[in-house]
Amino acid sequence: MTDLLGHVFMQHALAASVLSSVACGVIGTLVVVNRMSTLTGSIAHASFGGLGMAFALGLPPMYGALAVSLLSALGIGALTRGARGDSPDSAMAAFWATGMAAGLVFIRLSGSYAPDLMSWLFGSLLTVSRGDLVLAALLDILILVVVGGLFKELVAVSYDAEFSAIRGIRTGLVRGVFLSLAAVAIVMLMKMTGLIMVMALMTIPAAVVRLFTCGMKKMMILSSVIALALNLSGLWLAVLLDLPPGAVIILMAGVVYFGAFAYARRRDSAAGRAAQKSQ
């Protein structure tokens, strides 16, 4: 492993792990408390359409993905807004499938198989470039500045949008900002874990942390730490066993998720029994 650290690709992979963990922890916490985990899967898959379009037009795929990811996040937000809006799950499903379909059609039209596309589907932590890292760092800064600045508004709108509106908060705007940040974070993670698995890395750390803690700030920090631990241990194991890192990281996340829930279930039922006894 220490030999491997001498390689540039490995250093890049480690830096990418750190940078993506920050986005995971901060945005993942907001996604989880808003019960919008499926949203991340929907946006990620929808942006496949953007990737396909970028390939067909010979543009950088990152920009295609980012544009469509932002559009679908805001589109889902607009469609589900208000009492007369569509239900979130059908809006998410529609964007999910339409994006995938558009991507396939674009790839067919571009007349090539586009092997590069596979790295977007399944991630390529070991081929992250310096440019990707710079972009990821900038996105992290953006996320931290905006979430830091609007922290109390984001928490309040997530908790009780109606009350926030009465207190003069522009809830539609706050929600739009949150969705845009989620879209940005998803594209950043997609490059590393792949669009198929981004949902897991985004939501599992926060969902696990939620079982053991209260408080949004604490959740964001601890989720980042867990995401980083998953990224690093998954990467290490993948290199050791010569397996795809994205998949190994997600498998580890899955194990942690099920393990944490099993533990919390036992803890809660033990607490329940203790409470019954003491009565």
């Binding site: 019960r35 109390k152 508004e153 908790y159 009780d160 009350f163 009465i166 408080g215």
Partner: protein, 257 residues
């Protein structure tokens, strides 16, 4: 003195041609304590939304604390039903602090004053010791008090509560209403409920609304429903505002359910 709420010939709803409330007129004085009752779907929540400025009237005028609902909203405290329906990682103090939103602008943290006001309000409601506790871990009655503390964050002149006792036991209800009576010394209160028996001895007036225009029509005539609810005071039903009995004094118990 400017009335807390002044509504004249109000009609409002969500879908065009289907008013949920129609031709409603009522006044809540500055020191008023009014219960707003009526069956489910009768328009209680819709009326609350209009008063809060979340829904615009189709017809008629609404003045809240002498201003338009949107302008008055800073001086109105709102206590919703239990929010949200699932566990959310905030403490009681976090929730109380939300009452200070709009006072401290975006891109600024809650100030020391925000904190002291929120803690004072939690203390006023007797739940200051729970400030650091997760909302999830509180009982229904305790959570209710935290939500009222949040509503008091802007030092409102009108407090609006939507079905506040839906999920608390009888004993808690009683101390809860005593608490509201105390608060009523300083501000006007409107309480939405469908349990008229529980509130009738505490409030100064009761308004019953039942105006629904559902596409399938209703089996009971609204007058009969209103009567079933027993509204001895300001009865506003089925588009015809009519006062059955005047304000307060010598009211009979309205609970015949």
């Amino acid at each position: 003195m400017t009335p807390a709420i002044e509504i004249r010939d109000l009609t409002a709803g969500y879908a065009a041609g289907q008013p949920v409330i129609e031709d409603i007129s009522l006044v809540v004085p500055a020191n008023g304590f009014m219960a707003l009752i009526g069956p489910n779907g009768g328009g209680k929540t819709t009326l609350v939304k209009v008063i809060l400025g979340l829904l615009n009237p189709w017809k008629g005028t609404v003045r809240v604390l002498g201003a338009s609902p949107a302008r008055a909203s800073e001086r109105v405290g709102y206590v919703p039903q239990m929010v949200p329906g699932y566990s959310f990682p905030v403490t009681a103090l976090d929730v109380a602090l939300m009452g200070r939103l709009g006072i401290t602008p975006p891109f600024r943290r809650y100030t020391a004053q925000d904190r002291s006001v929120s803690l004072e309000n939690l203390a006023l409601l007797g739940v200051e010791t729970l400030a650091g506790k997760p909302m999830d871990s509180l009982s229904g009655g305790q959570r209710q008090r935290v939500l009222i503390a949040r509503a008091l964050g802007t030092q409102p002149e009108l407090l609006l509560l939507d079905e506040p006792v839906a999920s608390v036991d009888q004993e808690t209800q009683e101390s809860f209403f005593n608490l509201l009576s105390e608060l009523n010394g300083k501000l006007a209160i409107v309480l939405v409920t469908h349990d008229v028996g529980a509130v009738s001895s505490h409030v100064k007036s009761i308004a019953c609304i039942n105006r629904r225009l559902v596409s399938h029509g209703s089996t009971l005539p609204p007058e009969a429903v209103a009567e079933a609810y027993g509204c001895p005071f300001e009865l506003v039903a089925h588009g015809v505002p009519h006062r059955v009995v005047g304000q307060a004094a010598g009211h009979e118990d309205g609970s015949n359910d």
